[in-house]
């Protein structure tokens, strides 16, 4: 029932992580306040640290894994030479979790996301999304995808962009309007229904894109560096927004980023990946309480976690270049966090 990480070097970290995951899932209230099952049906995440206090009715049965990847490999063929984009990726994402994929360029995080979205097919391994194959999940419209660019259709107004998936899925007109208006209100764009995308700022466009991804109420939200092209100030603002929306809707989020503070600030778990070949290095649990605010960024724990992620990335880097084969021990000094790094 836990998402298992398999750090490059060996099984020790994996076992550790497994242990920890089991603990959390078994008794959410005991651990750090975590969203996920607790907030899935619970509406807006209210008071600090109060969210997990009411796990809600959905929390009672064992939480199903929304994404289950087992030994997933993806190899690209470029002019006869094979490039391994992703190797033996094992990952489980539970319902209501906010999982970030972080790693250097070429580590396969976007590949993993696109595999989950069934935009590309794995070379080997098995991938299950919402209990079905990835293709079936896509056809069942189980996920909403947010790209790095807003990818708004510039010939459609803001509201028409949000209603687009609903049109394709055959929702009645009135419901389309209603849902789109509600979502635009949620992302704070009430007054912009009739504007064209180019009349909005980059941050506003990305918010429209998020609203669109949520329009048909999918279980899962796949976000591929959605704030990567934005400036720091807008990005932090949108991070808060995203957490609020996540709290309100209780979606499961798989989030690709290469900003360490962003990953720490948003995620309940961080999957650290390494490049060449792309693989999962380690998985770090983020035990910062939800809801998170500007103070969270100032907290000592936040800095410890960022340091841990940075260390893990650095280890992965070194491993990737073949400097050392025994990364687990090298990871020790930077971490200092019993539940994040071994």
């Amino acid at each position: 029932m836990a998402s298992r990480s398999e750090p490059t070097p060996g099984g020790r970290a994996a076992a550790d992580a497994e242990r920890r995951r089991s603990a959390t899932t078994a008794d959410p209230a005991a651990g750090r306040p975590e969203p996920g099952p607790g907030t899935a049906g619970g509406g807006p995440a209210a008071g600090p640290g109060a969210a997990p206090a009411a796990p809600g009715p959905a929390a009672a049965p064992p939480t199903p894994a929304v994404i289950r990847a087992t030994k997933v490999c993806k190899t690209y063929r470029v002019r006869g030479t094979e490039a391994v984009a992703l190797e033996d990726a094992d990952l489980e994402v539970l319902q209501g979790e906010f999982v970030s994929l972080i790693g250097p360029s070429g580590c396969g995080k976007t590949t993993l996301l696109r595999l989950v979205a069934d935009l590309i097919q794995p070379t080997s391994g098995s991938l299950e999304v919402a209990g079905k194959s990835a293709t079936a999940a896509r056809q069942a419209r189980e996920y909403g995808f947010v790209f790095q660019a807003p990818v708004l259709y510039h010939w459609r107004t803001v509201i028409a962009n949000v209603t687009l998936p609903l049109e394709i899925m055959g929702f009645p007109r009135a419901e389309r309007r209603e849902r789109a208006a509600a979502l635009l209100a949620m992302v704070g764009l009430e007054g912009f229904h009739r504007q064209y995308p180019w009349q909005l700022s980059g941050g506003m466009q990305q918010r429209v894109s998020i609203a669109r991804a949520l329009a048909f109420d999918p279980k899962l939200l796949l976000m591929d560096e959605p704030f990567g092209a934005l400036d720091e100030i807008t990005r932090e603002g949108l991070n808060h927004e995203l957490l609020r929306i996540w709290g309100q809707t209780g979606k499961t989020v798989l989030f690709v980023t290469h900003s360490i503070p962003e990953a720490v600030f948003l995620s309940s778990r961080i999957v650290v990946m390494t490049a060449r070949p792309g693989r999962i290095q380690t998985i770090i649990d983020v035990d910062l309480p939800y809801p998170r605010s500007a103070e969270t960024r100032e907290s000592e724990r936040f800095f410890e976690l960022t340091t841990a992620v940075r260390e893990a990335l650095r280890l992965g880097q070194r491993g990737a270049y073949g400097v050392t084969a025994t990364t687990p021990t090298a990871g020790e000094p930077g971490g200092g966090e019993d539940d994040a790094t071994p």
Binding site: A117, L119, R138, Y143, F145, Y153, H154, R156, I168, Y196
Partner: protein
């Protein structure tokens, strides 16, 4: 005021273009005007003739002339008078009385033949060239033609002179009854007959009909004029030293008309001939020996005077060149003299005249001034057809051109514009529809694109002007003619308009952001939804851009189709007509109208884009 801010750059550019029209017109026109001015064939020519005595002398030692050359020579019957005399301006003082009278008055003219007492008949038609004296005074001949040609309908004629009686054919008309004169304009009560001479008498008299010997006086005379026969005349003495070695002499007026049959140059009492002699042999490029009719004279090759001894040797009529003249060169011999310099009016005699002899000219023609004017600007302004007229000349033609045909006539320009617009729009609709259809097929069926694209491209390499007649013949065979139907115009326009639409739309349909397609995949959208919701809207800006190109192409097609038609409709027909008529200003007007039509139609497409696809940034 904001529209003003938007409009002013356009206005400024238009004004600048118009202003630029002037230097460009001068740039193109001035060399032509200069050429016209320098081309002697466009000059008005004037004749110099030996003057008869102006007044029958009362004192036999003084002779007066109406006009006299600076250096004159008294002649009678083609020979200088031997008696000594002294010229002083227009008068000549004789040193000794003449053996015969200076003027012998001949027969009186018969007449008057009309009520007004103006028309007379010469005793014989052969006397036309003889001087006429009225009461002992020489009469000057002079008449000018009207600007307009009599075509049997025109009644208003314009002359360069504002006064004088008006003659039609050999009749002098009566003012008030037959015509009314207003300055240089004359309005006839009845239109003169077709092709008849309409003249105004500006001198003392005019010869109305040389064959019949009919002359008309400018004003009624008390007595009939009389012929002056055997008159002493004052001829022009050619400038040049007569020293036994000089052979070149200069006429007072130049440039000369090179082949002037009226020219009469004399050496003392002998008339000199300027007729060229041709060699008997063919000039084949090998031969150096040529035989001429006379055994003396000046030899020229291609107009270049050859010098005897060095360039040729003579043995009687046989001339041997040291260098054979090139094939077909003009080898000529001038027995007496040749005009060695037309511009300077210089002649060269074959043999130098002996000291004491006189070289004189009784008659010759020279070019007085360019017909178009004395300055380049005058010639520029008088040129009937400029390649680049001044903008204001074009502007002046607009109203006459547009109002030339009434709106009820098919040739009316407004109706022509509407007809061409109809042709262009139908061509655009047809070509646009076909182009989009082809593009959609190409994008969805790649093999079709691979199969057809080379042919589509090849179709555009066929010059439309060659294709149109064939297409019209084919369509004409099934009863569809460009005279009666817009279908051929639409087909021809569509033929060249569809190509940019196809290319643009294919590009547009392929221009979709891959992420936008990924997004549609994530929605599990079907191909039709992808096309309708993403591909087609993404192609719309490309479609409109290519439609604008297609509009210009459709207009070309419509114009070309119209040039092949003879139904007298449309701008294309009019353009060809004005080219054939040589109306340059009207062609410019048509060019501007066509340009405005093209711009207007493209702007219309842009307007449609703004309403149907408002998402594109303006």
């Amino acid at each position: 005021m904001s529209w003003l801010r938007r409009v002013w750059p356009v206005v400024a550019v238009m004004l600048a273009t118009v202003a630029l029209g002037y230097p460009v017109a001068l740039l193109f026109g001035l060399p032509l005007a200069r050429q016209r001015m320098n081309d002697l064939s466009n000059w008005t020519s004037q004749t110099v003739a030996a003057q008869p005595v102006a007044r029958v002398p009362t004192t036999p030692s003084t002779l007066t002339f109406a006009s006299a050359p600076a250096s004159g020579v008294l002649v009678r019957d083609g020979a200088p008078l031997a008696s000594p005399y002294r010229q002083d301006g227009d008068t000549v003082q004789l040193g000794a009385p003449l053996a015969r009278p200076a003027v012998t008055l001949g027969a009186a003219l018969r007449g008057p033949l009309d009520a007004a007492g103006l028309v007379y008949r010469l005793p014989a038609a052969a006397d036309t060239g003889e001087p006429l004296y009225l009461n002992g005074t020489l009469l000057h001949a002079g008449a000018i033609q009207s600007h307009e040609r009599a075509d049997g309908r025109v009644t208003t004629f314009t002359f360069d002179a504002a006064s004088g009686p008006v003659a039609v054919g050999d009749r002098v008309l009566i003012q008030g009854r037959d015509y009314r004169a207003k300055g240089d304009k004359v309005v006839f009560a009845n239109p003169p007959d077709f092709n008849v001479d309409v003249r105004r008498i500006t001198g003392d008299y005019a010869v109305l009909d040389a064959a019949k010997g009919i002359v008309a006086l400018a004003r009624p005379a008390g007595a009939a004029p009389r012929l002056g026969v055997d008159a002493v005349r004052l001829a022009e003495r050619l400038a040049g030293a007569v020293n036994g070695s000089n052979r070149t002499f200069t006429l007072a007026h130049a440039p000369l008309v090179r082949t002037d049959p009226s020219r009469q140059v004399y050496l003392d009492g002998t008339a000199l001939s300027s007729a060229p002699e041709r060699p008997r042999e063919r000039v084949d490029g090998q031969r150096a020996r040529f035989t001429f009719a006379s055994s003396r004279g000046l030899v020229t090759v291609d107009g270049q005077l050859m010098s005897p001894g060095t360039q040729y040797t003579r043995d009687g009529p046989v001339v041997t060149f040291t260098q054979p003249p090139r094939r077909n060169a003009e080898v000529r011999q001038y027995r007496d003299y040749l005009v060695s310099d037309v511009r300077a009016g210089t002649i060269t005699l074959a043999t130098p005249p002996k000291p004491g002899s006189v070289v004189w000219a009784a008659n010759y023609t020279y070019y007085a001034r360019p017909a178009c004017g004395t300055t380049v600007m005058q010639c520029f302004a008088s040129m009937p057809q400029h390649p680049v007229p001044f903008p204001n000349w074009i502007a002046a033609r607009v109203v006459p051109y547009v109002s030339h045909y009434p709106i009820t006539d098919q040739r009316n320009i407004v109706r022509g514009v509407l007809y061409t617009t109809a042709g262009t729009v139908s061509a655009l609709l047809l070509g646009g529809a076909f182009g989009v259809l082809l593009a959609v097929l190409f994008v969805f069926l790649r093999p079709l694109e691979q199969a057809l694209l080379p042919w589509v491209i090849a179709s555009q390499t066929i010059p439309i002007i060659a294709l149109v007649p064939v297409l019209l013949l084919i369509l004409g065979n099934v009863g569809i003619t460009v005279q009666t139907s817009l279908i051929p115009t639409a087909l021809i326009g569509a033929y060249i308009a569809f190509f940019p639409v196809t290319v643009g739309t294919v590009t547009g349909l392929r221009s979709v952001d891959p992420l936008a397609l990924d997004l549609m995949t994530s929605y599990a959208a079907n191909p039709f939804q992808v096309f309708v919701k993403v591909r087609f809207p993404a192609a719309v800006p490309f479609l409109f851009t290519s439609l604008k190109l297609g509009t210009a192409a459709a207009l070309v097609g419509a114009l070309v189709a119209e040039t092949e038609s003879n139904n007298r409709r449309g701008l294309g027909y009019d353009i060809v007509g004005q080219v054939q008529a040589g109306n340059v200003s009207d062609l410019w007007i048509l060019l501007l109208i066509s340009a405005a039509l093209g711009i207007g139609l493209v702007a219309l497409v842009g307007l449609i884009q703004r309403f149907t696809a408002p998402w594109d940034r303006p």
